[in-house]
């Protein structure tokens, strides 16, 4: 068809897949010697050992999934492989040659191409130009635009896409943009494709499109590193899985040898906290006959969260369990008005309420502590005291809270939560993660909320502080505060919450009474509920 002229003659053609038959199961060829070999990779940042002596290998003709929860070291490993970070120790071999990457262009020269979650293309330019940017064919010193579009169209055809290469990239869906990014990698003749969360903003049909292309590339011998937090997708596309946890390698497995619940267990590991130290609140009786503090029905947002129902009663702790990216953060952000829901109703203490902004939620006694302490929680250059007071001060407006009251509030909550060091004038950004978390909880407790939403409050903090926080949450709920508690550590959720809402792939898949379920049961529920049995 290329001799009949550029593809743009037929704009609007449906994507077709070049791969003949649609495979139901993954079956990449996994016997080749590795094209990429990482040995003993160690990378540390001030105060954090992000990767600790990790080995990883990638073979041509396979799709290899890299799995792990937050802070496992996935993105650090990818950045080492793509030359963004330099490694402290260890070695990187590509096709048998020792590499020392000093930047992304070195990795690219070695044949490694990366597609980021945030698509790294220029939406202000045409599709064809994006494919060829920096490699445009020239004639007599000037860019030969005809050739640019012809070659771009050929590359896109190679992936089974025919679109108008002269149209602006911004006119196309994220899925098409992903494929354009992949064909750009083809222009660079990449042997290794790194796909970092490529499916996080695609719908089901678009994922199918992408997977068809990935399978096609794999069958042509490309080595593909696939990172995703969608378990289903990993089981659909990957041949091999490497699991990381807390910067360490857990292991490398063939997909067929690793059942889902085994994968989940390996990703989550075993809680480090001595949970016996906390009096379990799971068994506490909750009066669910009264009007709930918060009732959300059908609350959802297109492309973010399928409509979900949640109820929280007086003094109850409701846990939300699910892996990273399952939609748990998205759900509570809608409840708090941090993002706007486009469906459903929310009732606070029986009265219908529009949660249009955080301000609104706070006025209705709802408080929310984000999982992203640094970007969405702590105001880093302000002092601890100013951070604690920010919530009530925002409510008071410009009238400054009296100094005596300021001091008593700050003292009360710093003591209650045991913030260390106990210096209210310290710059909050200099505190450890756990103490920053305590400051945030103090900020919200000072506003005397009816419902406190805690998103991953115990992530990335040391064991002792973690136990402190858990104890504090238990105590608060006994005093009548309602809590929504999100954590990747399922034992923690089971221990604290009376009820657990389980989420997967951006929807609520069920609700469990935590007294009637053990850890294994919960893991099994997360991995398999609604699937019949393990894949």
């Amino acid at each position: 068809m290329s001799d009949r002229g550029p593809v743009r003659r037929r704009p609007g053609r449906v994507l077709h897949h070049k791969s003949k038959a649609k495979r139901v199961t993954s079956s990449g060829n996994t016997d080749h010697p590795p094209i990429v070999e990482l040995r003993g990779i160690t990378i540390s940042f001030p105060g954090v050992l992000a990767l600790d002596n990790v080995d990883f290998s990638l073979r041509p003709g396979e799709v290899h999934a890299l799995m792990g929860e937050n802070g496992a070291g996935k993105s650090t490993l990818i950045k080492a492989l793509t030359g963004v970070y330099s490694i402290d120790s260890g070695s990187i071999d590509v096709a048998g040659n020792r590499q020392a990457f000093h930047g992304t262009s070195d990795a690219e020269a070695a044949g490694i191409s990366t597609m980021y979650q945030e698509i790294n293309l220029c939406t202000n330019l045409s599709v064809g130009e994006n494919v060829m940017l920096g490699h445009e064919p020239r004639k007599g010193g000037r860019i030969d635009w005809k050739a640019v579009h012809r070659m771009a169209a050929e590359h896109l055809e190679g992936l089974g896409i025919s679109i108008d290469t002269r149209s602006l990239l911004s006119n196309h869906s994220i899925a098409i943009q992903q494929l354009v990014a992949i064909s750009r990698a083809m222009v660079l003749d990449a042997k290794v494709l790194v796909l970092d969360e490529p499916t996080s903003s695609l719908d089901r049909g678009e994922v199918e499109q992408l997977f068809a292309v990935i399978r096609d590339l794999r069958d042509r011998g490309a080595a593909i590193l696939f990172v995703s937090h969608f378990l289903d997708q990993v089981y659909e596309i990957a041949d091999r899985i490497t699991v990381l946890r807390n910067g360490k390698l857990v292991g490398e497995y063939l997909v067929r040898d690793l059942p889902r619940e085994a994968l989940v267990t390996k990703m989550i590991g075993h809680a480090l906290v001595d949970l016996a130290a906390i009096s379990s609140t799971a068994a506490r009786d909750i009066d669910r006959t009264d009007v709930p503090i918060l009732r959300a029905s059908d609350v959802g947002r297109r492309g973010v969260l399928e409509p979900a129902d949640v109820e929280v009663f007086d003094g109850e702790i409701v846990g939300i369990a699910g892996l990273l990216g399952s939609g748990r953060t998205e759900l509570v952000r809608l409840l708090y008005g941090a993002d706007r829901a486009d469906s459903g109703q929310i009732e606070v203490a029986g009265a219908p309420t529009k949660m249009t902004s955080p301000r609104h939620a706070i006025d209705h006694g709802v408080a929310f502590s984000s999982e992203d302490r640094r970007e969405e929680g702590i105001v880093s250059d302000l002092t601890v005291a100013e951070n604690i007071l920010l919530g009530i001060q925002a409510r008071e407006g410009f009238r400054k809270i009296r100094r005596a009251k300021q001091e008593s509030v700050v003292f009360e909550y710093m003591t209650a939560l045991d913030v260390r060091p106990a210096d209210p004038n310290m710059i909050a950004g200099n505190l450890s993660g756990g103490n920053q978390q305590k400051v945030l909880i103090a900020r919200w407790l000072a506003t005397a909320p009816e419902l406190l939403i805690l998103d991953e409050p115990t992530r990335g903090i040391d064991v002792g502080t973690k136990a402190d926080l858990q104890r504090k949450v238990a105590e608060l709920s006994e005093q009548g505060l309602s809590v929504i508690f999100i954590s990747s550590e399922l034992e923690e959720v089971l221990r604290l919450a009376q009820r657990v809402v389980v989420m997967r792939d951006r929807k609520c898949i069920g609700e469990l009474d935590s007294l009637n379920v053990e850890l294994d049961g919960l893991i099994d529920f997360i991995a398999n509920e609604g699937k019949g049995s393990a894949a």
């Binding site: 708090y336 941090a338 902004s357 955080p358 301000r359 706070i362 929310f368 984000s370 970007e375 969405e376 929680g377 702590i378 105001v379 880093s380 250059d381 302000l382 100013e386 007071l389 920010l390 919530g391 001060q393 925002a394 409510r395 008071e396 407006g397 410009f398 009238r399 400054k400 809270i401 900020r443």
Partner: protein, 345 residues
């Protein structure tokens, strides 16, 4: 621990010392007719317009913004005030001057509110939003004065910039009052800390329930009012409304003063006292440059050099470089015995 104001104050003291050594009359203050005279007093007096503009700029920069229109607002304010006085029957009447000043300040407030509207309600980037007024504002000022340089002889109006009140220039009291007022409003109410929160981390502030729109809006409004007062002082000093020359380049001097005072251009923590010191540094430097026999028209070269040095010192790459250097020195010290081997390998 070093105080944030250590370097700015040290620079100011050093400048004054150098000047005192270089010319003995610099530090001397004479008393005539119950008034102080001298180079230092001149600096205090001449600082007034820049001080007022820089105060407003400080608050705007704290919100992660910038106000390019300050000079144009000065021009409008001066034009409004002088046109009112010029068209009144008695230019020397105190009442007329009062009315003129109040109307001019209200006009400036309006312009500030306009900027705030574009930035906080429409969501246009501050540089672009204030560029509109920077461009059109002088045109408006020229229209008000009918394209001429309106001059007046009004004793009460001249008093604003050249008059004295108990020993010291009246203009000095104006800026001291403005500094005190802004300081009180920012630090006695919660406005200051909320402004800083919005400037440091807009998203965290939003989630904490801070009403950032009103805060940003008020910053631009304040900048408008303060620039308006600066415009009146400027016009009073030259006894004329010069729509082209009023407040020319003052936005750069104001930004420089804010940065010299230790407030980061990235927004967040701000220091009113730092800005005061920054303005005094600029004014002293200006005085020293003039003393060196350099034409005031040429002084931008020096200020450009100061700006370049300051932004380079504040630049993230330099800080990263220094940190890397420091850590490599530290680790070398730790691995002293093996360093030879490393060098060999």
């Amino acid at each position: 621990m070093k105080h944030r104001l250590f370097w700015p104050v040290a620079a100011l003291v050093l400048l004054i010392l150098i000047n005192t050594v270089a010319r003995s009359q610099f530090a001397s203050i004479t008393v005539r007719d119950g008034r102080f005279y001298g180079a230092l007093i001149d600096i205090l007096r001449n600082s007034a317009p820049l001080m007022l503009v820089s105060l407003g700029m400080t608050v705007v920069i704290a919100t992660r913004g910038i106000d390019l229109s300050v000079g144009a607002v000065m021009a409008v304010s001066g034009a409004v005030a002088l046109t009112i006085i010029d068209s009144s029957a008695d230019a020397n009447s105190l009442g007329t001057v009062m009315v003129a000043v109040v109307v001019a300040i209200l006009a400036s407030l309006l312009l500030g509110v306009w900027n705030g509207f574009l930035v906080s309600a429409i969501g246009i980037q501050p540089i672009v939003a204030t560029l509109v007024l920077m461009l059109a504002g002088r045109g408006v000022a020229l229209l008000i004065t009918g394209g001429f340089i309106t001059t007046v002889n009004s004793t009460p109006f001249s008093f604003i910039s050249t008059g004295y009140l108990v020993l010291l220039p009246f203009a000095f009291f104006i800026w001291v009052a403005a500094v005190a007022a802004v300081g009180l409003i920012e630090r006695r109410t919660a406005l200051g800390v909320l402004t800083e929160a919005v400037g440091i981390n807009p998203e965290a502030s939003r989630l904490a329930g801070v009403r950032s729109r009103g805060i940003i809006w008020s910053a631009y409004a304040a900048s408008g009012v303060l620039s308006g007062i600066a415009g009146i002082i400027y016009a009073s000093n030259i006894r004329a409304a010069d729509a082209n020359a009023a407040g020319q380049f003052i936005e750069l001097y104001a930004i420089l003063a804010v940065v010299l005072g230790g407030t980061s251009l990235m927004g967040g923590k701000f220091s009113i006292a730092g800005t005061v010191v920054g303005v005094l540094i600029i004014q002293t430097l200006e005085s020293s440059i003039l003393f060196l026999g350099v034409s005031s028209a040429q002084s931008p070269v020096f200020f450009a050099a100061v700006v370049i040095v300051v932004v380079v010192l504040q630049s993230p790459p330099l800080h990263r470089f220094v940190r890397r250097l420091a850590s490599s020195v530290r680790s070398r010290r730790l691995t002293e015995p093996t360093s030879d081997l490393e060098a060999a390998g």
